[in-house]
Symmetry: C2
Subunit: 262 residues, 2 copies
DNA sequence: TTTGGAGCTTAATCTGGATCAACAATCAAT
DNA sequence: ATTGATTGTTGATCCAGATTAAGCTCCAAA
């Protein structure tokens, strides 16, 4: 069905089709020969609010590596912090391992979003981050980003904003986890994916879940079984349609009402 | 018992005794005639890692306002974002209001800690922030902090670190709320206060809770009753001693074990 | 010094979501 | 096509923590 190549691990080959068949692939080709200036995500990624000349300077420090296969790690918990990463295509999850080996998902990352900011303070990454599907990234070595931010006030300002946004978002999740029911959490999660989907010019009502039910549960503080049951319940109420990883938000306003009325 | 003045609201008077009687007051006088250079918190607040000359420049933009009384708001949810604030003495909580008026606590702030970073991205504060006791702050107008950061690479670097630290901390809370039991959450909370207490050169095993049981519950996603019960249970096990707002951590390693073994 | 209200504790009961268990669907690898 | 592993669903039971209810402690204000 998809024309994504399956050459089984030759990550460095670069022979990735420019126009794969799925919506996600079309939106975000895994092409490595791209610049921030020409990247279709530049309006929502780091280059936002930078001038042409500034984007060119940013381009100089951005490294566009080989793509990642599903299950490949970008970095692991307590690796030395070196870079932040922007998702160019595909998706990632970050997670930590508990003492008895259980994983807890701390975030999901879609195209245009920045990963690795949890390492800035401690000089070690606090999470592991792994590709949920075939994916590609832009690596931005942090000490170079700092140096450049010092030359470009716009970039400094924007990176403060990106971090501030992450802080605000994390605090919303704090509220979600401390006081929402399973149904409210799940509805909120779907609505979040919806708006992130439309951010990258895809449908806000119909998208693919790149993560498993178990990932969702670990992220929302619920068990797989509960996530599954809530999906079924929301479907029975006619608010969504789920078929495997494919989700349709049929009654987006009712979903919003579930979240708001808590 | 305390010599804190009770002149009933003349917040602008500035006639605050230099050495109040409580431990907290001794540690953090509400004195407004102070500079970053002479502040006893400068090793853990914004000036960290700055040179004498740089601290002097920072001093120029820091505003040391009148002290706050218990219940006074620093800013409210959706006020226009203008400044970040460092706690000089006392303590604060941040919270958001749900649609039906219930409050949810999103954070507590002790001396040397920075408040208001949730507003950086959106230009509006996402939380309300209120004094839990008589307290004083340093206000740092954000656009001036940005301008100065642009001149002082050390300050830029350090502020990135402060924000990165906030992000890492918020993600720990995500994990806490999504997978810890009531006892684990409470133990973790007490240990957190313990290390923050020792950060400001107070005892790591004996301190006063500036917040109510209800605040703790709203922060940890538990009810007041549960918090109260857990305190009692930990006390019966001989791990802590609680008497009103006063806490003694008697078996700090066992508390750590409770948190780790989850 | 009384009084009222906020804050805290304890006990009895209830319930949302976890746990346990079984099975179905999907997919990758032969 | 067959196999095994991973992922997802559904049902039955259980329990941690919520809810409800009552009384207690503390302290500020009259």
């Amino acid at each position: 069905m998809s024309s994504v190549n399956t050459d089984g691990g030759s990550r460095g080959s670069g022979r990735i089709p420019l126009n794969a068949a799925t919506a996600v692939d079309k939106a975000c080709p895994h092409n490595v020969n791209i610049s921030c200036a020409s990247c279709r995500l530049n309006e929502l990624c780091l280059p936002i609010a930078l001038s042409k000349a500034e984007i060119h300077q940013l381009d100089e420090i951005v490294q566009r590596n080989r793509p990642y296969k599903k299950g490949d790690h970008l970095y692991r918990q307590s690796d030395e912090f070196k870079s932040v990463y922007a998702v160019r295509s595909g998706s990632f999850k970050s997670y930590v391992l508990g003492t008895s080996g259980q994983s807890r998902v701390t975030g999901f990352f879609l195209p245009g979003e920045i990963m690795g900011m949890d390492g800035i303070a401690s000089k070690d990454y606090a999470n592991s981050t792994v590709a949920l599907e075939h994916a590609s990234i832009c690596e931005i070595p942090f000490f170079q980003l700092e140096k450049l931010s010092h030359q470009l006030p716009n970039l400094q300002h924007h990176f403060f904003a990106i971090m501030g946004n992450e802080i605000a978002k994390d605090q919303q999740i704090h509220t979600l986890l401390s006081s929402y029911t399973a149904e409210e959490r799940t509805a909120s999660f779907l609505l979040g994916l919806s708006s992130r989907s439309s951010r990258v010019s895809l449908s806000p009502t119909r998208f693919l879940l790149p993560m498993t039910r178990s990932d969702i549960g670990e992220y929302l503080g619920l068990t797989v079984e509960t996530v599954s049951r809530i999906f079924t319940a929301l479907q029975r109420k006619g608010l969504i349609k789920v078929r495997n990883r494919e989700v349709d938000l049929l009654e987006i306003d009712t979903l919003r009402a579930i979240v708001t009325t808590n």
